[in-house]
Symmetry: C2
Subunit: 452 residues, 2 copies
C-alpha cells in the first residue's frame, strides 16, 4: 500500500509522520517543491533580524531524518498532474527538469498556499520580495548582506507585514509600512488596530494606511516606490499582501473546490476524489461559531488537519474528525502581543449576529507585584443567549487570555459561565480576578440592559 | 434596609461593593477585626523580602475610600454574637474594649479562615510566627529589623510555606523547610512535588520532608528547633501549616455547618439562617468534578462568592448562583511556576474514578525562538468517557496551560476535544502545537489502549 503526500511543510509532514505511526506497513512518499521539507514558516520574519540564528533552526526535520522513520521525502519535486481514476501522478524533478510517473493507493494533498502576487509595476525589480518560503528569506538576507539597504518598504499590514516591519526595524533600517485598508490588522476591531499602529509608530515605523503602492522604480534594483502619488525611498521591499490556497493540481484533477476557493473536504479530510485526502493551507474548513465555510491558513491548524488526514488515509477509514476552527491567532510586534479568537465585534455584526461587546483594561499581575503591565481584553457575546462569540487581547499575557477564551468558545460557554470561571490566581500571574472574569462581568451587565 | 457584613477582606468587601452597586438605597456596614480592611493577603510573603515595597500597597481600599462609595467600614470591631431570630448583633470595639448592639435586615458572613495553631512546645517564644494577616507580616518585619536573624525555619510545605521560604531566602537567610508529609505541595502528584523540591534545593533551601517539629527552644526568643530529634538553629520561625474556616460566630448562631467544617450555603450563598448569606474562606462549596462538598479558601474564589452573596443579599432574591470550584491554583517558587486545576492522578483515584494520565515535556516557545524554556504538563482523564479530570503544569507558561485546562474542565471537555482545540500560535508564545494539544494526543492514545 503506497501513500503519496503532495507537499512537505506543516500539514504534509505531519500527515506522513502520523500515517507512519498508525500504519507501519505503508510505503510513504512525500513530494516537496521547495528544497527543504518541514520548514517552520512562522519563524521566517525572525530570521531576517537574526532573532532566530541560522536558517537551519527553521528546518524541523531533514529528508535524512524522515528516511530514518521510513518516510521518503523527495525535495525539488513538483507534482504536475493527478489522475484520480488511474491513481497516477506526473512528477517533475526540478533538479533535472525531467518528468516521471508515479502511482498511489492513497493520496494526501497538502499543497499549501502561495503569496498573492503584488500587482504593481516594477515588482520584478531586484530588491522586491515576498516572504513565504525559506528560499524567500534566503534571497532577502542575501540582498541585505550585499546592498546594506537603509530604507525598507513593507507592503501589507497583516501578521506577516507587521512581523517583517519589526524585524527590519531591529536591523536599524527606516521602515515604512503601507496598508491599503484604513487600518492594520483588520481581523481585529478598529480600536485594537489603532493601538497596534500607535505601538508601531512608537517604535519608529512609519505607518501609512489607506495608501496604495502604485509603482516601484529603479535601474534594475529598486530605489523608490510611488505610494498614493508620493515618492518614498526604498532599497528593500517586502510584500505581505496575503496568501491564497494553492489548488492548481486539485482543480486540474477535478476535485471539488469550496466557496472560499480552497479545496473542499468532509470532516474526515476526504476530498471529493476517491482515496484522496487533503490538509493544511490548501483546504477549506468550517468556522465553529458561524457554521460557515472558512479558510484559515495557519501552522497549528495545518498540523492538526495533517494529523487527521494522516490517520484516516493510513487506515483508509473515517477514524478521526477535524471539527473546524475558531480563527484563533496571535502575533507579536515589538513589545506588544495581540491575540484574537472567534469573531471581532465587526465580524459578528457582518455575520448577522446581534453582538454586544465589552472592553476592559487590567493588569498582567497583581497591581502591587513588580512588573505588572497593562492588558486590554475585549469580549463579544450574542445578545439574548449570552453565548461568547469572540475575544481580542492586547498586551502582556494576551496569549493566555486568548487561549482561555478560545477554550471557552470551544466549550460553547456563555458570558455568565465566564464570570465564575475558576482560574489560577497568584500575584505574579494576574490580578485576583482574571481580565476574562472582569470583562465577562461588565459584558454580562451590558447583556442584561436594554440598549441605550 | 440595613446590610451588615461580618469580615472585611476579600469576600466581605467584594460583597459590600457589589451590594452597593446593585442597590444604592441600602445602608451597608462592614465589621472587620483586623486594623485594615481589604488586604491582599496573597501578597504577604512578598512583603517580607521587599519584592512588594511597602505594606500600603497591599491595602486595596481604605475605610475612607469605602466611605466615599457609601460603605461604612468599622475596623478593630469584632462581632461576638449573632441572634438570627431577633436580627441582632453584639459587637466589640477592640479599641475601647466595650461592646454594643447592632441590628440588621440582611447579613453576610465573611469571617474568613484562621491559621491552624502550631501544636508545638515553645510556640509562644518570640520569633515564632504565623503569616495570615498583614499584622503578622508587620510583626515578622519588625523581628527581622530588630534581630537580623540569619537562620530561618519554615514549617509547612504548602503554598504559603513555599512562598515564605523563597522570600526569606531572597533576604540572604539560610532557610530550612520542614514538612510533615513525605513531600511538599501534596495537592500535586509525587513527580511534580519532587521537581519542586529539587528547585528549592537548587536555590539553597534545605528541604526536610517526613519531618516533625517537636519543640522550639530559646530564652524568651527562639534560638533552635528540635526537628525529628535533631537540633536545628532557627532565629526566625514562620509556620504555614494550613488554615481552617473561622466559623465560631456561625456555629454559635446555629448556622448549619457543612461536612468540610465550613459554613454550609446553598448555591445562592444563603446559609441555613434566615436573611443570612455567607461568602469566602469560611464557606463550603462544591467541587464541580466530583460533585462533592469542597472547602477551597482562595482569594479569587472568595471574590467571586462575595459578588454572588452581595447581589443576592442586596436584592433579597436568589438572582445569582455560585456554581462551585475546580480547585484551580498556582504558585511561584523562585523561577518555577506550578499550577493545577481539577484533580491530580492520586486525587482522582482516591475519589474512586478510573483515571488515566499522561505527562509531557515541551517548550514555552517555538524551539528556534530565543528564550524557550522547558515546561511540563500532566493531564488526567477518565477511562471510558475520556472526560478531562485535571491538569498540572510546571515551568514557564504554567499559568496559561493551567487556565486553558481549567476552562476546558469548566466546559466539560474530553481529551478528544483538546486534541483539536484551536489555540493561539506564534513562535514567541509556544510551540506550534500547544503542550495541551500534545499531552491530549498522548493521553488519547493511552485512553484507547487496553491497560498493560
Amino acid at each position: 500500500m503506497r501513500l503519496v503526500v503532495v507537499g512537505g511543510v506543516a500539514a504534509g509532514t505531519k500527515a506522513a509522520a502520523r500515517a507512519r505511526r498508525v500504519n507501519p506497513h505503508l510505503k510513504i512518499v512525500v513530494y516537496q517543491e521547495e528544497p527543504e521539507p518541514s520548514i517552520s514558516e512562522c519563524g521566517l520574519p525572525y530570521l531576517l533580524s537574526g532573532t532566530v540564528e541560522g536558517r537551519r533552526r527553521l528546518v524541523a526535520r531533514t529528508p535524512q531524518e524522515f528516511a530514518r522513520s521510513g518516510i521518503r521525502v523527495l525535495v525539488r519535486h513538483r507534482v504536475e498532474e493527478l489522475e484520480p481514476d488511474r491513481k497516477r501522478l506526473v512528477v517533475r524533478d526540478l533538479f533535472t527538469g525531467a518528468t516521471f510517473e508515479d502511482r498511489y493507493d492513497r493520496l494526501i494533498l497538502a499543497t499549501g498556499a502561495r503569496a498573492k502576487p503584488l500587482a504593481v509595476e516594477g515588482s520584478h525589480l531586484e530588491g522586491v520580495f515576498n516572504l513565504r518560503f525559506l528560499t524567500d528569506a534566503d534571497r532577502i538576507l542575501d540582498h541585505l548582506r550585499r546592498h546594506r539597504p537603509s530604507r525598507a518598504l513593507v507592503v501589507g499590514g497583516g501578521y506577516v507585514g507587521l512581523e517583517v516591519a519589526e524585524n527590519l526595524r531591529l536591523l536599524g533600517m527606516e521602515v515604512t509600512l503601507v496598508q491599503r485598508p484604513e487600518r492594520v490588522a483588520t481581523a481585529y476591531d478598529p480600536e485594537i488596530s489603532r493601538r497596534i499602529e500607535d505601538h508601531l509608530r512608537e517604535h519608529g515605523v512609519e505607518v501609512r494606511t489607506s495608501a496604495e503602492v502604485e509603482e516601484f522604480r529603479g535601474a534594475g534594483r529598486v530605489r523608490e516606490a510611488l505610494v498614493s502619488g508620493e515618492r518614498v525611498r526604498a532599497e528593500l521591499v517586502v510584500a505581505g499582501v496575503g496568501i491564497e490556497p494553492e489548488t492548481t493540481l486539485a482543480r486540474r484533477a477535478g476535485a471539488r473546490i469550496g466557496t472560499t476557493g480552497a479545496v473542499w473536504t468532509d470532516r474526515h479530510q476526504r476530498t471529493s476524489l476517491p482515496e484522496v485526502w487533503a490538509a493544511g493551507d490548501c483546504v477549506q474548513t468550517r468556522n465553529r461559531i458561524t457554521g460557515e465555510p472558512a479558510w484559515v491558513p495557519l501552522g497549528d491548524t495545518a498540523n492538526q488537519m495533517g494529523r487527521v488526514a494522516g490517520t484516516n488515509a493510513a487506515l483508509g477509514e473515517d477514524v478521526e474528525e477535524f471539527p473546524g476552527v475558531l480563527g484563533t491567532g496571535i502575533f507579536k510586534v515589538f513589545d506588544l502581543a495581540a491575540g484574537k479568537t472567534g469573531l471581532s465585534e465587526q465580524e459578528a455584526k457582518r455575520a448577522g449576529l446581534e453582538a454586544v461587546a465589552a472592553g476592559i483594561e487590567s493588569r498582567s499581575r497583581a497591581g502591587y507585584y513588580p512588573g505588572a503591565g497593562r492588558v486590554l481584553l475585549k469580549l463579544v457575546a450574542e445578545k439574548g443567549s449570552g453565548r461568547l462569540l469572540g475575544a481580542q487581547a492586547l498586551g502582556p499575557g494576551a496569549d493566555k487570555l486568548t487561549d482561555v477564551c478560545a477554550t471557552a468558545l470551544w466549550g460553547g460557554l456563555s458570558c455568565s459561565d465566564l464570570v465564575n470561571l475558576d482560574l489560577a490566581y497568584a500575584p505574579p500571574y494576574g490580578p485576583v480576578l482574571s481580565p476574562v472574569i472582569q470583562a465577562a462581568t461588565v459584558l454580562q451587565r451590558r447583556l442584561s440592559q436594554p440598549p441605550k
